[in-house]
């Protein structure tokens, strides 16, 4: 079985060559620990192999993602992006709320310039359903045009989708259905999520076939970063937390060393 490279050599080494393809994985960690950067590495690796890759942006506006990635010398041009960051909410009575799925198109990162402005009359809202519908539609369009499928998907983040994309419905069932949808797309998928609380079981982490966890601690004013594999179905893996450095080329794992918090 061929493994799918994460785009980070040291991380691939921790998981015996790469991820088992066509499965969803959780990327967890506290804010600023490098989750989005890891997602970009993963998508850029796909671009290098001339695969079709897509990022669903729910947390940060795409223009900011693009700007931040330039710091690492990434040219995100060929990455497809679904801008699913919700608009400013309209508080005026009777203002029309449109599902984001009905108007927004996919872009490539190349076309991303400024932040999309909220419209004054119609507010676009995001639901897990609209995100799913758009992904499905876009995957079908891609298949019709080229006969190819998406091989890599990054959802950044499930935490955001949970916060504003699932109102009044049974969250666990919606996430289960979304994860099933992702698995049926047969793409290797990274789902960005906050580190699970030790007393709590997050549905997306429960259902993910693996969890890559990023660590960030402060020690005497210094930030220490690390990466660990918490689970990985169908494969053995490096069971030690390894330190990472964020360099001008992105994330670098220090495989020989141990993270000490």
């Amino acid at each position: 079985m061929n493994r799918v490279s994460t785009g980070i050599k040291g991380l691939d080494d921790m998981i015996r060559g790469g991820l088992i393809p066509k499965r969803p994985y959780a990327i967890t960690g506290p804010p600023g620990s490098g989750k989005t950067t890891l997602g970009i590495h993963f998508l850029m690796e796909g671009i290098r192999n001339e695969e079709n890759v897509v990022m669903v942006a729910l947390d940060e506006p795409p223009n900011e993602i693009k700007f931040n990635a330039q710091a690492f010398g990434f040219d995100l041009g060929d990455i497809k992006i679904l801008d699913a960051v919700p608009d400013i909410k309209g508080y005026r009575r009777g203002s029309l709320i449109k599902d984001v799925g009905t108007i927004l198109d996919f872009h490539t990162m190349r076309d991303v310039r400024d932040i999309r402005m909220s419209r004054s009359l119609r507010i676009m809202d995001v639901s897990i359903h609209s995100v799913q519908k758009m992904l499905r539609q876009d995957a079908e369009d891609l298949y019709e045009a080229t006969g190819e499928k998406y091989s890599r998907v990054v959802v950044d983040s499930m935490t955001a989708l949970k916060m504003f994309g699932m109102k009044g419905e049974d969250q666990r069932i919606l996430i289960q259905s979304f994860m099933r949808f992702i698995a049926e797309m047969e793409a290797t998928c990274l789902i960005v999520s906050q580190t699970p609380e030790p007393d709590h079981l997050d549905t997306e982490v429960l259902l993910a076939r693996g969890e890559i966890r990023l660590h960030k601690t402060k020690n005497r004013g210094m930030i220490n970063r690390g990466v660990s594999i918490e689970k990985l179905r169908g494969s053995d893996f490096d069971e030690t937390i390894r330190p990472i450095k964020i360099t001008s080329k992105g994330i670098k794992v220090q495989n020989g060393e141990t993270f000490n918090g």
Partner: protein, 257 residues
């Protein structure tokens, strides 16, 4: 107590901890955090049944069956003749389209016949699994086949995705149904990293707990028997590992004198 015929779990260290094995025809809980080895332990329990010439059934609620097959193959466990029921719900539809209950369509098959690719949600109708439809499916299945052992993987998925409201009552009734079916069953329960007691733990006749924690940044694995109605058991926790070709292996348990 020695006159009860106990059944072996397929893991010799665990059998010693259980003073010979499990008391048959009862439901037991296997609890532990993600990646602790619950599914693997369940498979070993079923493989032991096959060795004894029993019919055995794995009910998959949490992972696609093609992936389970792949994962067990990569662990080099021979699960070919275990029978499996794919009880994973399809992708939900949000438009009003017909929803089929799993009981109308899912069939038990041997793992060796599981296809390599994931089953796809049909274009115009979805199958959903509810605790009720699962029970109906199993009732029909049990009428035709006498299974010695079954594994439900996981009870957590059944609780999270197959019922809305009244979870505790429905779980109680489901466990009662299993007991009345007179099969020895293992039900996996996913726990958060810090162990939190949940109601289903009280309902089963025993609980085998898998522990996974970090020490000096490395993962450590242990196993303990937390509860075992009607039998003595070893109260210590023992180190365990998950090995290729063997599965869960428990270390350091001594035979009782």
């Amino acid at each position: 107590m020695k006159n009860i015929n106990k059944i072996q779990t397929g893991i010799s260290g665990l059998d010693k901890m259980l003073d010979g094995g499990l008391i048959p025809e009862r439901p037991y809980i296997i609890s532990g955090p993600p990646g602790a080895g619950k599914t693997t332990l369940g498979m070993q329990f079923l493989m032991e049944g096959i060795r004894k010439g029993e019919r055995v059934l794995f009910i998959a609620l949490q992972e696609p069956v093609n992936e389970i097959k792949f994962n067990m193959d990569s662990l080099k466990l021979n699960v070919a003749n275990i029978e499996i029921l794919d009880a994973n719900s399809d992708v939900r539809r949000y438009e009003p389209t017909p929803v089929m209950e799993i009981s109308s369509k899912s069939r038990v098959q041997k793992i060796k016949n599981v296809q390599e690719y994931i089953r796809k949600t049909p274009r115009f109708k979805s199958t959903v699994v509810s605790v009720h439809s699962l029970q109906t499916t199993l009732k029909t299945e049990f009428r035709n086949t006498r299974y010695g052992r079954i594994v439900i993987d996981s009870l957590t998925a059944l609780k999270y995705f197959c019922m809305s409201g009244e979870e505790d009552i429905l779980l109680q009734s489901f466990l009662r149904f299993l007991s009345e079916s007179k099969m020895t069953s293992l039900l996996t329960v996913e726990t958060p990293e810090n162990y939190v007691l949940s109601p289903e733990m009280f309902l089963a006749r025993g609980e085998i707990r898998l522990h996974k924690f970090r020490e000096n940044s490395r993962i450590m694995r242990m196993i303990s028997v937390e509860k075992f109605r009607g039998s003595e058991h070893d109260e210590r926790a023992y180190p365990m590992e998950i090995k290729k070709g063997e599965g869960v292996v428990v270390h350091g348990v001594e035979e009782k004198g």
